[in-house]
């Protein structure tokens, strides 16, 4: 069942020239986690705020659990939407304790039931024992857990998370990512997570929507987004990619680094670019080789080599962390693309 549906949503901020969202259609299935991924300023936070009811689109419809909450003219106010929101800066109430923060949205419950709900949710997020602390007495990770607990307490239909890990230290980030994933799994709640970090999106989401300048580039599962991006923008944004020029001849794509299957059936003579990920390229020293090593970045788990082809084109190759060749080494390339992704050459 589609829990959240956006169809044809457009939104322009006052005094802005370009629309923040342009004819955007998206849906989220019940129980799934959708990640909205894109560079800063692409409109991803605006999508979240429109779902929550803080922004009012000028066109298009938004439905939550089948109910029309926005039709481009009238909007249901945030307090009547039943969404839980976790802000980037957590937005904890500084004048309330952890317990009071979490109980804030539980006023319709009897005091006893509210207290039980708070205890239950504190256990869920692992904050038992911190009931009477004020927000400023908590660490960043603890503050975030309170923010999530507070959003989950009134049992919202959907949990919206805006860059939830960006304010955490890098070592804390990985741990919180796993914890939040576990909380989402255990509650089975539908979630929408906004992020600019593709690793975060890959790790957390069932589906990823890539946004660029207010437009939807692609919605797909994480593997497809990485392996078969539908636009050069997506290909570049979700990981290292090189675009190797080639030409379709006799049903094959001929490039400087080898011949590839013409899987999408471009007509004979088409100039195309083929996307190559570093993990598709393997290098072995050879003399004389066809290419030369121009640079190496040690990344801990891998060595990322920059290889210069005779035409001046660069390719990247990911090699084992222990495989070290000096710069200038002459090499032979083996390109084994698992997924052949081609784009008609941009002019």
């Amino acid at each position: 069942m589609k829990l959240i549906e956006l169809s044809g949503v457009s939104l322009t901020y006052p005094n802005a020239v370009e629309p923040a969202l342009h004819d955007l259609s998206l849906d989220v299935k019940e129980g799934a986690t959708l990640s909205i991924l894109g560079p800063s300023g692409c409109g991803k936070t605006t999508v979240l705020r429109a779902i929550a009811g803080f922004e009012h689109p000028q066109a298009g419809e938004i439905r939550i659990a089948g109910r029309l909450v926005c039709d481009g003219k009238q909007c249901v106010p945030p307090e009547e939407r039943g969404v839980g929101m976790v802000f980037q800066d957590y937005a904890l109430f500084p004048h309330l304790t952890v317990t009071q923060n979490i109980a804030f949205g539980l006023r319709r419950l009897a005091p006893r039931a509210a207290a039980d709900a708070v205890t239950h949710i504190l256990d869920l997020v692992g904050l038992a024992g911190f009931e009477d602390r004020y927000p400023h007495e908590l660490s960043g990770g603890q503050q975030q857990r309170v923010a999530i607990a507070r959003a989950l307490a009134p049992k919202p239909v959907v949990l919206l998370l805006d860059e939830p890990f960006s304010n955490l230290d890098p070592d804390m980030r990985g741990q919180m990512r796993e914890e939040v994933q576990e909380i989402l799994r255990r509650t089975g709640i539908t979630a929408v997570l906004v992020t600019h970090d593709h690793d975060e999106a890959f790790a957390m989401a069932d589906r990823i929507a890539v946004l660029n300048r207010g437009r939807l580039e692609q919605v797909d599962d994480p593997e497809s987004i990485y392996h078969t991006p539908s636009t050069p923008f997506v290909a570049n944004f979700v990981g290292q990619a090189d675009f190797l020029p080639g030409r379709v001849e006799n049903g094959k794509i001929h490039t400087e680094a080898g011949v590839f299957e013409n899987v999408t059936g471009h007509p004979h003579g088409t100039a195309v670019e083929i996307m190559i990920r570093p993990d598709d390229v393997h290098i072995t020293p050879a003399s004389p080789g066809t290419a030369q090593i121009a640079g190496r970045q040690f990344r801990g788990s891998e060595n990322l080599y920059t290889v210069l082809l005779p035409s001046g084109q660069y390719l990247h190759s990911s090699e084992a962390s222990t495989t070290v060749y000096p710069i200038g080494t002459s090499v032979e390339l083996t390109v084994a693309a698992t997924h052949i992704v081609t784009f008609v050459k941009r002019r």
């Binding site: 929550a52 803080f54 800066d89 109430f93 949205g105 507070r150 960006s166």
Partner: protein, 538 residues
């Protein structure tokens, strides 16, 4: 998207020539202590030695305490009622003219409360304009309106002190992270619920701090309450001293008033330390203005009403009472010697406060142990003493021990220094704290002596601040009435004293002209300083 936390700088470590600075700090502490503490101690000992209440009874003392506290409390509530809706309207809504309103809302700070009282007496007093108009209109000489008394005091004090609360509350409203309020919306609260459960509680510390300023102001004010004929501690002290010549009773009343003030300060300290919380901010986003919709014009009416009562009506009355430009100049010519007195006194006090303030702030920073804190604490005490009480203590002390100083203009300069030194010290202290300690260390490593560091590095860096604190103390001293009234040498009147005297004698034309001049003298320097501050020159 995240905003970097403001850079915090460590306090400079005590310099290598510590003993020198330490000796200087102790000498300054002794000097400041001798300036501030003996008057207070002598006041206490006079009160205790007298042992009797003189012409006072316990009952009248209790009655006085009740009236004073009730007046201060009601004035504070009234100021909050004026300040909070205005702050919310100008910061958070699409109120028309909100930028103009925001600017106008601080103008009452440039109108001393005794001038506000004078304006309202000229308008609503027994022989004021309103009664005159109504008499002309109806032909009956009945007294329609009389602002004298307790409620008049509450009305005027709240009206001219609400900017203290407005400034703090609007700054806090502006700094509030909008996502905190949005969270409350997503958790099921409507706009009013958010205001009640989130916005107001988060503003509580600022409202309390502003309210405390108003309360202390009301507790210590003499000028406006005396003009409005309200019987509170300060007016009773003046009455005992000047009409009944009962110094013992005046000392006893002052002593009780100081204790009351201290109790308020101690209570505030306890309250703030018990429940403290820090607002966690870190957002560059500004809350979107709330659309007022059909409440737009009622809101304009409300804001206009508040600003009308506190800015336009008093200024209008002053201008109307003054009459023509010719009449204005005549008054200035006639009273020129008093204007000169005011300028000379305020200039001397400001210069002295600036120099002493710099030395104190500098050595408090260098001093080890608690010397620095003791120094700053003593100076703050001088600020907390009501002007009337300070005047009385100086009379008692100097009359007995330094009769050659009593009855000179010098005693006025000393009184201003005691009252306003803290403004200078706090300003310079903050400026020094903002100077990167590495600058000093860099200068030392380039072979500059501590004296050269002070002269070549620190002084140029705080020079804009020195200018600002000079102006601040100048303004405060220009406006000072309560202590001046008791301490001035015979015939040596100042502008505020003349405004007071002419108001008492119902010569509102003269009072109005001098009040306008006084407002100009205080508002113009303030405008210059804020202008320079906006341009980052101060």
């Amino acid at each position: 998207m995240t905003q970097a936390a403001p850079m915090t700088l460590a306090r400079p470590a005590p310099a290598a020539s510590g003993w020198f600075a330490q000796a200087g700090a102790i000498a300054l502490l002794a000097g400041v202590g001798l300036l501030i503490l003996p008057p207070l101690l002598y006041l206490a000992s006079s009160a205790i030695q007298a042992g009797t209440l003189g012409t006072l009874s316990i009952g009248s003392l209790a009655g006085l305490a009740l009236t004073t506290l009730a007046l201060a409390a009601l004035a504070t509530v009234w100021a909050m009622l004026l300040a909070l809706p205005l702050a919310w309207l100008v910061v958070r809504t699409d109120l028309p003219f909100r930028n103009v309103c925001r600017w106008l809302a601080v103008v009452p700070l440039a109108i001393p409360s005794y001038i506000g009282a004078m304006a309202y007496i000229a308008l609503l007093g027994p022989v004021g304009s309103l009664n005159a108009w109504l008499a002309a209109l109806t032909g009956s000489h009945q007294q329609w309106m009389n602002i004298y008394g307790f409620w008049g005091g509450v009305f005027v004090l709240g009206l001219f002190t609400y900017p203290y609360i407005f400034l703090l509350a609007s700054a806090a409203l502006e700094a509030t992270n909008p996502s905190v309020e949005e969270t409350a919306r997503s958790l099921g609260e409507g706009p009013l619920g958010v205001l009640r459960r989130v916005t107001l509680p988060m503003l509580r510390p600022s409202i309390m701090a502003g309210g405390l300023l108003v309360f202390l102001y009301a507790l210590s004010d003499f000028g406006s309450l005396s003009l409005l004929r309200v019987h509170v501690f300060t007016t009773a002290i003046y009455h005992q001293l000047n009409t009944r010549f009962d110094q013992a009773a005046a000392a006893m009343l002052s002593f009780v008033l100081v204790l009351l003030t201290l109790a308020v300060l101690v209570g505030q300290h306890a309250l703030l330390s018990r429940r403290s919380y820090v607002t966690i901010t870190g957002t560059a986003r500004v809350a979107r203005p709330v659309p007022l919709g059909r409440w737009r014009w009622p809101a304009v009416l409300l804001a206009g009403g508040i600003l009308g009562l506190s800015v336009f009506v008093p200024l209008g009355v002053l201008i109307a009472q003054t009459g023509t430009a010719g009449q204005f100049l005549d008054v200035l010519g006639e009273q020129w010697s008093f204007i000169k007195n005011s300028l000379a006194l305020a200039g001397a006090a400001a210069t002295l406060a600036m120099i002493v303030g710099f030395l104190i702030a500098f050595s408090a920073k260098r001093a080890t142990g608690n010397t620095g804190a003791a120094l700053l604490g003593t100076i703050q005490m001088g600020y907390a003493i009501p002007g009337t009480v300070l005047g009385l203590s100086l009379i008692l002390l100097y009359n007995t021990y330094l009769p050659w100083l009593y009855g000179t203009a010098g005693v006025l300069v000393l009184a201003y220094l005691i009252r306003f030194l803290t403004q200078s010290v706090q300003g310079i202290d903050a400026a020094l704290a903002g100077i990167n300690p590495h600058l000093e260390e860099a200068a030392r490593s380039l072979a500059a002596s501590p004296g050269a560091v002070l002269r070549r590095v620190l002084a140029p860096l705080v020079r804009p601040t020195l200018f600002a604190v000079w102006t601040l103390v100048f303004i405060s001293a220009m406006k000072e009435l309560d202590a001046t009234l008791l301490l001035r040498p015979a015939g040596f009147d100042t502008l505020p004293v003349r405004v007071y005297i002419h108001t008492v004698e119902a010569e509102y034309g003269k009072a109005g002209a001098l009040a306008l001049l006084l407002i100009a003298f205080t508002a113009l320097p303030w405008l210059v300083v804020t202008r320079l501050r906006d341009k980052k020159l101060v």
